[in-house]
Structures are given as structure tokens and as C-alpha cells.
């Protein structure tokens, strides 16, 4: 397998399970652990892999509140949406920022310890930003699926133990 293909396969595996060991990746792809480790370092250095995180099924009582915020932005000459987006991304409350097509421009995911905290972030920090025309906040009530992982598992069906 050539290096570029191997890199793509590695990224596909890490997207599914970022804790997969170099050895398992190597065994799956018919490579060696040291080759895989080297390629992962390259992917990290080149900014293809930006980080690793866990997919967590938060309990409602763990004190974290999340919201999706739609932001309508007045684009600037030359830089478009980038300046505003980069500025909003700097806030630690902001977990993700996407420029999207459709009715509004930026889609933010924001985390805080309470409804109050998020509300004051929106009214105190987000809405008054230069270039922000309007916002709409949606508090997340229940998570069913994230990053390709469905949280309610299908009942495991027993297969026959021997099938010719």
C-alpha cells in the first residue's frame, strides 16, 4: 500500500477509534507499528490530525449544558466570514465553529455549567461582537448520536454458533 493510501486508511481507523494502538492499525493494514507511528506523527505535524477526544454520553446531572447557536454575520470585504469566525472560536466556551450554507452563517456549539452561563455568554460576549447581526440559541436536551456513534445500542442478536 502506498504511503498516501496508508495515511488515508489510518485516518479512517482513528476517526472510528482514536485509541486504536499503532500495532492494531499495523496488523489491520498489513504494515508495521513503527511505520504507522511515523505516519501518524506526520499527520499530526501537517495539521491533518488536529487532536483526539472522547465521545461521551453525558448524564443530564453532570452539570454541563450545551447549546447550538446560529449566528448571522455581516461579512467583511476581503476576509468574508473568517475574521468573525476566528474571533468567536477563541472563546473557550465555544466547542465548534462551522461556516454553513443556508439561512444563517456560523453554527457554534457552546458548552457551559448552566443555562445562565450560556445565556450570559450570548448576551454579553457573542451578540455584541462587531459583525454579528443576530443569534438564535438552541439548548440541547438529549443526545442520540455523536460522531457516528449511536448511544442506544441495538439489542445484541445471538447468531447460531456454527454456520457452514
Amino acid at each position: 500500500m502506498d504511503r498516501e493510501k496508508l495515511k488515508r486508511e489510518i485516518v479512517a481507523l482513528l476517526r472510528r477509534n482514536a485509541r486504536m494502538s499503532d500495532q492494531e492499525i499495523a496488523d489491520r493494514l498489513g504494515s508495521t507499528a513503527s511505520t504507522v507511528a511515523g505516519l501518524i506523527q506526520e499527520l499530526e505535524r501537517d495539521g491533518v490530525i488536529m487532536g483526539y477526544s472522547a465521545i461521551v454520553n453525558e448524564q443530564s446531572d453532570n452539570g454541563e449544558v450545551r447549546a447550538i447557536i446560529e449566528v448571522e454575520v455581516r461579512p467583511e470585504r476581503d476576509t468574508g466570514f473568517d475574521i468573525v469566525a476566528e474571533r468567536l472560536a477563541k472563546f473557550p466556551e465555544v466547542q465548534s465553529v462551522y461556516l454553513v450554507s443556508g439561512r444563517y452563517d456560523l453554527r457554534l456549539e457552546v458548552a457551559g455549567h448552566s443555562l445562565q452561563e450560556i445565556a450570559s455568554f450570548v448576551s454579553g460576549k457573542l451578540a455584541p461582537q462587531d459583525g454579528v447581526k443576530s443569534t438564535a440559541t438552541y439548548f440541547l436536551l438529549k443526545k442520540y448520536k455523536e460522531a457516528g456513534v449511536q448511544f442506544s445500542k441495538d439489542e445484541k442478536h445471538e447468531r447460531l454458533k456454527i454456520v457452514p
Partner: protein, 395 residues
């Protein structure tokens, strides 16, 4: 009152009574008495059927699509099959005459053999092979003629060995590549030489290609696409392996109109038609299932890499399978025969593999390990097999 013990008369037909009990049966019963078994003996996908396909079955129920279909199968599905065959296997068939939907490939093979064989006709096929071939041939009162395949040829049947078994009664050549249980596959050159053999001796070719899409090789067109072959080849395939739809029981046969017509006669009297609901799901799979099919294929490929490496590292040698989801390692280095190996591995380490002779006498010296099982279970099973081998050596 009847007493079965005093009943001297057997109601069972002689040729059925003469069928050997499946070699897998006793082993299956032994496995069922045990707990905590990691089974590498399961010849079906471990994935649930992709959701959009299940959803299509639900939709079929919702809109009351629950009647009989045409004996040949719903025309929309047959059109879907023919389009799929053209795109994926490189052969064109007419949906109205050259395609029939069956209840799995098992039924497809059964009605095909019944449609073409006269009593006493001989069918050449390669062993080790799927367990139903010899019995299904016998049930038509025809004669199964197995031809050995060898690990040294990566279990590809040798044309010279086929030539040696030819008689004036030989009528059919039955092929199954990618192969259950060995994982063998045919490259283009092998397909050409088998096609030439079939043409030379004017044989009908039945090509059971149920594992065709679970293929790790450079894909080549079907045997049926070679010159002189389409008119003498019936291609059998189905939804079970490629789309993880074993329980839906949908297969299909594509071939010359006269043979499909004859198969339809048997099918209409014995089966009438395949499940309408499952046919609706099958059409969805063929039209929109490529992505999931490819994802599953890649997962199998990676598991294969792991299993082949582990087995070879512990001295159970095997070649790199070209298709299907089986590895067929030699267990000769253990000093045990296949059946003893499988039984003791099960009893001592709670790992189930299928003894090679279940797939024909030439499977002796091998066991079949399926990798249609989660990789973590494969790793646990491999560790246990390694322990088993070490304990064998030290006693």
C-alpha cells in the same frame, strides 16, 4: 397403537436415508452444550443488515406489499439484478427471461440441479467445498464427482485434475470462487483456463459466486463474460454475504433463457416465489447499498490481515485468502487430525473452528476459521489457540 420400536418399515426414501449426516452436526451440538465459546465457526456476516435496507422492508410492510410476486420474482428486482450484474460482473442479462429470484443461493442451486440433471449424470466440483453440494446433487439422483484442491495451489482447481475425472456422463462443472471454506479465488488466467476446459468438453458451468463482492483482489469480470461462456453458464449469487442479509433469504440466478425457464418450473411448484418483503429490501440493497457493502468488505479485509498473520506466526500456515471471510490454515504441525484438533480446542479453550473434513475429505489437515466476527474476539481466539498449541507441545 403404533410403537416406533416395533415399526420395521422405513418410510424414508432410500436415497435420502443414504445421505450422510452433515459432518458439522455433531460438532454443532457439542458447541451448543458449552458456555463462553468464542466461535470462529460462523459462516455469516456479523453486521446487522444496513439500516436503509431494513427500513425498505418496513416500508414494504407499511404499504401492504405482502402478496405473491411473479414466479420469477418482482420484475423491478430482476431489472435491478441485471443492472447490478452488468455493472459489477461485466455480463448482460435480460430481466424478463434470463434472471430468476430464489430463496437464497441454496434454493437456486437446488432448482438449477433439478432442472438440468438426469439420473446418473455426473457433476464435477472442487473440494473442499460448501457442505450442500454433494447432497443436493444426490437428491437429483445424479452423481457428485469431487476433485481435490490443494493448499499448494492456494486451493484453485487444476484443469488437469478435472480432465482426469471426465467421463461420457459428465454434464456440469460446479465452481465456487471466492471459496467457502478456503478463501481461494480465481485470477483472470484461471478463469480463462476453466472456461476453455468447459467449452472444450461442452459442459454446463454453474458458478456459485455468493462471495464475489467479498473480494480482496483486483476484480475481474465473471467467467460468464468469456467467449462461448454466457450460453453455458448459470451465475448464482444473492444478498446474504455482500449486504449482510442472510435472514432475508434472497438469491438469484442469471443464465440462458431455456435454463431459467426450466428452473422457474421447479420453483413455481415448490416455492412459488421468494418473500415479497425481502425482495423489496433486496432491491434497495442493490440500488443503494454500495457504500455499506464496501465498508463491510474493508473491515473483513483488515480482520483477514490480522488473522492470517497470527495463524502463520503460531505455525498454522495459510495463504492470504483472496475472498470470502474464511481462513483455512493447516493444523498438521499440531500433530492432531482436524476433528481431534477442533474438538480439543473447543473443550480445552472454548474456541470453535470447523474441522476441514466437514467440507470434504480433502479438507483433512485443515480447519476453517471465519473472520466474520469482531476483531477483539478474533484476537482473544487467536491467543487461546496459541496457548492450546503451546500446551500440546509441552505434553
Amino acid at each position: 397403537m403404533s410403537d416406533s420400536k416395533s415399526c420395521h418399515k422405513s418410510w424414508v426414501a432410500q436415497h435420502i436415508a443414504d445421505l450422510p449426516r452433515s459432518g458439522i452436526r455433531d460438532f454443532f451440538e457439542l458447541v451448543n452444550t458449552m458456555d463462553e465459546v468464542i466461535s470462529l465457526g460462523i459462516g455469516e456476516p456479523d453486521f446487522a443488515t444496513p439500516w436503509h435496507i431494513r427500513e425498505a422492508a418496513i416500508y414494504a410492510l407499511n404499504r401492504g406489499y405482502t402478496s405473491y410476486t411473479s414466479n420469477l420474482g418482482d420484475l423491478r428486482l430482476r431489472k435491478g439484478i441485471c443492472a447490478y450484474a452488468k455493472e459489477n460482473f461485466g455480463v448482460s442479462y435480460r430481466p424478463d427471461q434470463e434472471c430468476i429470484v430464489t430463496v437464497g443461493v441454496s434454493e437456486g442451486l437446488d432448482i438449477l440441479l433439478r432442472a438440468v440433471l438426469n439420473p446418473g449424470d455426473e457433476v464435477l466440483y472442487h473440494e473442499p467445498c460448501y457442505v450442500s453440494y454433494a447432497p443436493t446433487i444426490r437428491m437429483t439422483h445424479a452423481v457428485p464427482v469431487p476433485v481435490r484442491t490443494e493448499a499448494k495451489n492456494d486451493f484453485v482447481v487444476d484443469v488437469a485434475d478435472l480432465e482426469a475425472k471426465l467421463t461420457p456422463r459428465t454434464r456440469v462443472l460446479l465452481l465456487n470462487y471466492p471459496n467457502n471454506p478456503t478463501g481461494a479465488g480465481l485470477d483472470w488466467a484461471a478463469k480463462k483456463s476453466l472456461a476453455a476446459f468447459a467449452c472444450r468438453h461442452d459442459l454446463l458451468v454453474i458458478s456459485d459466486e455468493i462471495y464475489e463482492e467479498v473480494n480482496y483482489d483486483v476484480r475481474t469480470p465473471s467467467l460468464a463474460s468469456l467467449p462461448g461462456m454466457q450460453e453455458r453458464t448459470v451465475l448464482l449469487n444473492g444478498m446474504s454475504k455482500a449486504f449482510a442479509m442472510t435472514g432475508f433469504r434472497i438469491g438469484y440466478a442469471c443464465g440462458p433463457a431455456a435454463i431459467i425457464e426450466a428452473m422457474m418450473k421447479v420453483h413455481q411448484y415448490s416455492m412459488l416465489c421468494a418473500s415479497s418483503i425481502a425482495q423489496a429490501a433486496a432491491l434497495e440493497a442493490l440500488q443503494n447499498g454500495a457504500r455499506e457493502r464496501e465498508e463491510m468488505r474493508r473491515e473483513y479485509e483488515q480482520r483477514r490481515n490480522v488473522m492470517v498473520k497470527r495463524l502463520n506466526d503460531m505455525g498454522l500456515t495459510c495463504f492470504m485468502p483472496r475472498g470470502a471471510f474464511y481462513v483455512f490454515p493447516s493444523i498438521v504441525s499440531s500433530g492432531l487430525d482436524s476433528t481431534t484438533f477442533a474438538r480439543r480446542l473447543l473443550q480445552e479453550k472454548h474456541v470453535a473452528v470447523v474441522p476441514g473434513p466437514a467440507f470434504g475429505a480433502s479438507g483433512e489437515g485443515h480447519v476453517r476459521c471465519a473472520y466474520a466476527t469482531a476483531l477483539e474476539d478474533i484476537e482473544r481466539a487467536m491467543a487461546r489457540i496459541k496457548e492450546f498449541l503451546q500446551e500440546l507441545k509441552s505434553t
